[in-house]
């Protein structure tokens, strides 16, 4: 067996035999430097792009079907085509505000290969005629900010960024900017609000998406870090070679982070649409099985917002459409694995609490709903639940996301999958995401909820919350 394993200077990353489209330099300790980058095809993609017309470069990206790696999985080349012609200037905003529970790959890409991302930004600006690029990094990631700042300074000094790039008439500035701790800013319109100096609250869409009306009211492309990091390789090797990896609908590779109860948790670059969840969780090249040879109870297949999967779904490939039809999403490539020792209610509560804390407060169903979901789950966990609580949870969920919520099939109960995505009464998907852990666990482990719920239907007056201070009466 190959000795491929963790790489000390990129904690969490596991070097294995898969395709290396975006992680090829991670094995080098100095992968973040311009010297290493130039020695390993660095800026060759941009050089080749500049030898072609912008429209031709756009065509190459469209041909390759580079799916967005931020969560929604929309093809970048198609998104790029949505800008209204002639409404200059156009902007590029890079979404590096990675905060989806379980997710990290953008952080590694920014820390370990900042030049690759910068080159991806430049290729995009060239192809689409974008006048300025804003690279928005999550606030809690100083190492990423530092390495990107260093890389940008080096790139400016060498004429890769800024005025007359590589001696051509192509000129664009990249402004490094950063957030300050708000999950919702990962939503593209909230990111734009934040970049304009406002509270990070999402804008109503449709009808106008950022490609039509974005930053400062101008057409704006918002792309994820990993999506853009694919472009240098693509421009050097071409769409045909890119599509040689993965499946027809999901070409190329993608980075996934597998955490929780597996023997070798890690960040892997895998082949899209080919590798199955079973390969990933049990394969020798990947996570090598569940800890202590325990049974797998459930797993989150695509970040905190994804409906949960169970052992029956293990043989599904990591392919967006397939997973969507089976009731969940690949989302941000975060897989959280839970073994038989996991308390389903407690795990669901933890994710729901995240959404309650991170709700921006703009839409009532989410602001109020997530808070109530958290309170009710907490009291169930505390043994203070009421028999009506399960229905109440589902009712609140229905207020945020009406109709059948996406869930995986449960053959033991003869239940079919409800395909992704959910409906929503809110502006953005944060509220509906809070429903995923609830419906996933109630449908599958209702008995765990019931076991925790006491038989009381209402709380007697005497059992009002205790206060440590004596209460003055009268």
């Amino acid at each position: 067996m190959p000795t491929h394993d963790y790489v000390p200077h990129a904690p969490g990353y596991v070097d294995n035999d898969g395709p290396k489209i975006v992680t090829s330099r991670f094995v080098h300790e100095d992968s973040h430097t311009l010297e290493r980058y130039e020695a390993t095809n660095g800026y060759d993609g941009l050089r080749r792009a500049l030898d072609r017309t912008p429209a031709d470069v756009h065509e190459e990206v469209r041909d390759a079907v580079v799916l967005g790696r931020g969560g929604a999985g929309f093809p970048a080349g198609v998104k790029w085509g949505f800008m209204p012609p002639g409404k200059f200037p156009y902007y590029l905003v890079v979404n590096g505000d990675e905060s989806e529970p379980g997710t990290y790959k953008d952080r590694l890409l920014m820390e370990r290969d900042p030049h690759q991302l910068i080159e991806g930004c430049l290729i995009t600006c060239y192809a689409l005629g974008l006048s300025q690029c804003f690279l928005y990094v999550r606030g809690e990631m100083p190492a990423a900010q530092e390495n990107l700042a260093q890389a940008l300074n080096e790139a400016y000094a060498k004429g890769y960024v800024g005025k007359n790039i590589m001696g051509t008439e192509f000129s664009v500035d990249i402004t490094l900017t950063w957030g300050a701790g708000a999950y919702i800013v990962g939503e593209e319109t909230a990111l734009i609000e934040s970049l304009e100096g406002n509270r990070g609250m999402p804008r109503l869409k449709p009808p106008f998406f950022p490609a039509a009306i974005g930053l400062y009211g101008q057409p704006t492309i918002v792309n994820n870090v990993e999506t853009l990091s694919n472009l240098p390789w693509l421009l050097v090797n071409g769409a045909e070679q890119y599509k040689a990896f993965g499946s027809e609908a999901s070409p190329g590779s993608r980075m996934v982070a597998v955490s929780g109860h597996v023997n070798r948790p890690g960040v892997y670059e895998i082949e899209q649409g080919v590798t199955t969840f079973r390969d990933l969780l049990y394969g020798d090249n990947f996570c090598r099985g569940i800890r202590n040879d325990n049974e797998l109870k459930m797993f989150v297949p695509g970040g905190g917002s994804a409906p949960w999967f169970f052992p029956e779904q293990l043989d599904l490939p990591l392919e967006g459409r397939t997973v969507g039809a089976e009731g969940s999403m690949l989302g941000s490539g975060a897989i959280m694995v839970m073994d038989e020792t996991t308390d389903a209610v407690k795990a669901a509560l933890r994710l729901v609490r995240f959404y309650a804390r991170e709700s921006c407060g703009k839409c009532t169903p989410c602001r109020e709903g997530t808070t109530w979901e958290e309170r009710i789950l907490q009291r169930i966990l505390d043994g203070e639940g009421r028999p009506s609580d399960i229905d109440k949870l589902l009712d609140i969920a229905d207020n945020i996301s009406p109709g059948p919520y996406p869930v995986a099939a449960d053959p033991s109960q003869g239940l079919d999958a409800v395909p992704f995505p959910p409906k929503q009464t809110t502006i953005c998907p944060l509220g509906p995401s809070s429903v995923a852990p609830i419906t996933s666990t109630i449908r599958r482990f209702r008995h765990e909820y019931e076991a925790k719920i006491t038989k009381r239907d209402s709380i007697p007056v005497m059992a009002a919350p205790m206060s440590s201070d004596p209460v003055e009466v009268g």
Binding site: P89, P142, G197, S259
Partner: protein, 209 residues
């Protein structure tokens, strides 16, 4: 009187110069203020408002949305323990409880000597290295309770030299050398298409596939 030091004021102007709208510099400037004092004082927000042509209320309005900004003094070392799902599965909550016990404060609190603040935070993007935490946003991965005791001891005794004081993020700043930049592009200033798109015209004549 300037709240920002002379150096920081220069940095502030440089940051503002990279955005088509001054208000876009608001969050970076709040970080700069927090870097200077470890928290964001009212005077800092007044000056940021002046610098960005906004009002102090707008600055606070934006700043208070974001978890990282502290509007009161906090510990020199902020210990942020992740308790989100991936960490919870491997002992994040126990790690937080241990930190609380070791320092004698609850999450959200600061020790009497102003040395430590503990926070119970959401996913910090190191999930495969659970349980993990950040001290002033510097990662500490796969931590045992013994590791945590050692870390606290190191900080107390000045051995944690890799961790700057609270408020300092990246140690390298972006700097665009004079003459090297393409220049900011404001919506009202650039209504013409970028020059390099002219390359598409000739391609059209050539009958592109």
């Amino acid at each position: 009187m300037s709240y920002f030091t002379a150096d920081n004021l220069e940095t502030a102007h440089e940051i503002i110069s990279r955005y088509p709208r001054k208000k876009s510099a608001l969050i970076p400037l709040l970080h700069l203020a927090q870097e200077q004092e470890g928290w964001v004082a009212d005077d800092a927000m007044r000056q940021i408002a002046e610098l960005t042509d906004t009002t102090p209320a707008e600055v606070k309005g934006t700043g208070s949305f974001y978890e990282m900004f502290k509007f009161h003094p906090v510990g020199t070392y902020m210990i942020n323990v992740c308790t989100n799902l991936a960490c919870q599965l491997l002992g994040g909550e126990e790690l937080l409880a241990h930190a609380e016990e070791a320092l004698g404060i609850k999450a959200g609190g600061t020790t009497a000597d102003g040395m430590f603040t503990i926070e119970d935070v959401e996913c910090i993007a190191a999930c495969t290295e659970a349980p993990c935490l950040q001290v002033n946003y510097r990662y500490k991965l796969r931590l045992t309770t013994d590791d945590l005791d050692q870390l606290i001891d190191d900080i107390r005794n000045g051995r944690a030299t890799d961790i700057p004081e609270h408020g300092t993020l990246g140690l390298v700043r972006q700097h665009i050398p004079a003459g090297a930049g393409a220049g900011i592009v404001a919506p009202e200033q650039a209504t013409e298409r970028p020059v390099w798109l002219a390359r598409n015209d000739t391609a059209d004549e050539g009958g592109e596939a």
